[in-house]
Amino acid sequence: MEPILSEQQSLLRDSAVRLCANLGGPKRARQLRNDAVETDREAWGEIVKAGWLATAVPEQAGGLGMGMFDLSLAMEEAGRQLLMVPLVEAAAAAWALAHADRQSSKRALNEALEGKRLLVPALAQAGWGLEDSAPPKARTGTSVVLEGRLRFVPFAATADGFLVAARDGRKEPLLCVVPRDAKGLCVESVPNVDGSTSSEITLDGVSPGADAIVARSDKARELMAAMRDLLALGVSAELLGVSNAALDMTLQYIKLRQQFGKPLGSFQALQHRAASCFVDIELNRSLVYRVFSAWDAAQCHPAMVSATKARASRTALEVTRTALQMHGAIGYTDEHDIGLYYKRAITLAALYGNELNHTTRFFKLTAQGA
């Protein structure tokens, strides 16, 4: 079902639909994959220029003062068009910088909004399927020195800097901006099945400067939790777009493809599977809209986030598998585009916690009744 939008939101959504359709699509995604390009810099430049990153940043922090819900409309379109852009990551980092209360965060935020510097979060994987990963250690004194490693960070090779969550000597959290070119910082990237990358960042005595710290203790804890939730939610919106695009492509195919003298889409076995995919996507769409709205109203329980990521991941995998099946042998080829959606779904479903991780988290957060 269509989201319930104000006039301004409708215009915003239309422009997201147009922009992403112009910038992305399977052909572009295939080209980027073949060229082993981590980030579609051209598309990303256009998205930043169009002001999308500033959408959910409060006006007093230099943004447009709209909501995360508004931004999620663009995330959904980015997923639909298989865009290789760090929209979700940069938005989460911008949110944290905008809500940090230090002078140092303002400069970093302005540079990000102007497109001068791409900042992405670099967080430990605990809760996302890698339970033994500890955040880097921070020695603090007159300046801060970081030691440790962060794994499975997307867009790390193209980012200009990271919002690193570390822990100080008292085991208190600390959030700081670390430039990509800081001495002692090393990024090693490994490709994923969809052409995106996942990187390991090693911090070997990295000293990002005295004003690198943007938040400490409770504030840092709050902002890290917010970023983690925003990353999972943003990817859920992307997965919604991926699922929808895969179903649309499949419906087109089974309406045209003839077997036994009839279109494949006239067979009830396929119709019922397609209808089930439609129902799952429709429910997720309402859930994504609902949870982003709750976020903007400061009423988003973290369990809602996990419910959303768990379902979005499950549905995207189910829908893209079904899509492959309905395409028959051609769906198994690299030549056909439907495989691009399947592989994108696989990657995004695993990113920032898969269905199992988030089901477990949901259970832990809601367990008091059981």
């Binding site: 079902m1 319930i4 309406k255 889409g265 209808a275 429910l283 309402s286 419910a307 809601t366 008091q368």
Partner: protein, 390 residues
């Protein structure tokens, strides 16, 4: 933030919040304790006292226009009434009179039909049943054969209706009957008749369900004479008006609280059986809770669009499929959670309320068949929402 699996249910504006508060306060006091949280299905005579109380309070027919004794309530207010009733475990008054036939009488009935039937539906004095299904016409309703022939100023009805909820309690039936056997398409030869169940020639036989109680009945019509003025709407125009008002009704019968209630029962019974310590149970519970959240979001999104007159055609089928499957899965988990107590044919005592998991599960088998099997709903989606060829 404390978690509550009904958290997505209400985001009332101040006026709605005030209404909810008023409803809640009144229901807490008014609803008789013995009617609440009944583990077994309730019958029309048992629910009547509660029906009357709601009527006296003016809340029995929120969706009717005020001029007919209704509230002229918004869809949100209607949903609030349903939510608050289920919150305290109060029984829902049967919808056959209030929600199925009355809105059609209001829309197309004659002044005489309105004056004769609406007051009895409001007070609860008259119990109605829906005579649609037949042995050969279930999900394929348009193939129904019960025949009504106009002879002078009476229709003469012959045939057989089946799966009629409360047929053995009803004072009146609204029935789809065939008035033109040669019509093409078949649904163009069907009329809607209001039938007095005390008429000569009607034999009613209760049907014992898999649950063990008689929820349904079947009726045999042997030259039953129905006055011509009991034709509702036009001759051969019954199909169209019978499908007129189903959209809003689905919100009352498909509320996510039905599944939430079953999941809460599963939690309660798990404490007794020990399943509460079983990771496999907890994992399944979490999956169902996430599905409940998604359905709740869809439900409220749909209600908002419906209120704005913008609900998509697919919504009714999506709600039916999603609510039906969710409730069934929740009832199955409830029986799993009960472990060896699952097959018990007697109530299980828990801290909060007596439970009967098997009965709940039996009851939920109905929701994927009644009102059009879920397979038919998927056919509808394939055709209308996905534009797939036939």
């Amino acid at each position: 933030m404390k978690w509550d699996n009904t958290a997505l249910f209400s985001d009332d504006n101040p006026a709605d919040a005030a209404f909810r508060h008023e409803v809640r306060a009144w229901m807490e006091l008014a609803c008789p304790k013995e009617l609440r949280n009944r583990p077994s299905r309730i019958t029309p005579p048992e629910v009547r006292p509660w029906h009357r109380l709601l009527h006296e309070r003016g809340w029995i027919a929120p969706h009717w226009p005020r001029e007919y004794g209704g509230m002229g309530a918004t869809l949100t207010q209607q949903i609030i009434l349903v939510e608050e009733m289920s919150r305290i475990g109060a029984p829902t008054p049967f919808p056959h009179g209030l929600s199925f036939i009355a809105p059609i009488i209001i829309k197309v009935g004659t002044p005489e039909q309105k004056a004769k039937h609406l007051p009895g539906i409001l007070t609860g004095d008259m119990t109605w049943c829906q005579g649609y299904s037949e042995t050969g016409a279930g999900s394929d309703l348009a193939s129904l054969k019960t025949r009504a022939v106009l002879q002078g100023d009476h229709f003469v009805v012959n045939g057989h209706k089946m799966w009629t909820t409360n047929g053995h309690y009803a004072d009146w039936m609204f029935a789809l009957v065939r008035t033109d056997p040669d019509a093409k398409p078949r649904h163009a030869g069907i009329s809607l008749l209001l039938l007095d169940m005390k008429s000569a020639g009607i034999a009613v036989k209760p049907i014992r369900t898999i649950r063990g109680d008689a929820e349904f009945a079947e009726e045999f019509f042997d030259n039953v004479r129905v006055p011509r003025e009991n034709l509702l709407g036009e001759l051969n125009g019954g199909w169209r008006i019978s499908t007129l008002l189903l959209g809003g009704e689905r919100f009352a019968t498909s509320h996510p609280r039905n599944a939430a209630l079953l999941l809460n029962r599963a939690r309660q019974v798990a404490k007794i059986s020990g399943a509460a310590q079983d990771p496999a149970f907890l994992q399944q519970l979490a999956v169902l809770e996430t599905d409940l959240l998604a359905y709740t979001a869809y439900y409220r999104h749909g209600a908002a669009l419906q209120a704005a007159g913008r609900a998509p055609e697919s919504m009714s089928a999506v709600i039916k499929i999603a609510a039906g499957e969710l409730s069934q899965r929740a009832s199955e988990l409830l029986v799993q959670a009960a472990g060896p107590l699952g097959p018990r044919a007697v109530d299980i005592e828990t801290q909060a309320e007596p439970l009967n998991p098997a009965e709940d599960m039996f009851e939920m088998r109905r929701v994927s068949v009644g009102g059009g099997a879920l397979e038919v709903q998927r056919n509808i989606l394939a055709k209308r929402a996905l534009d797939l060829p036939s």
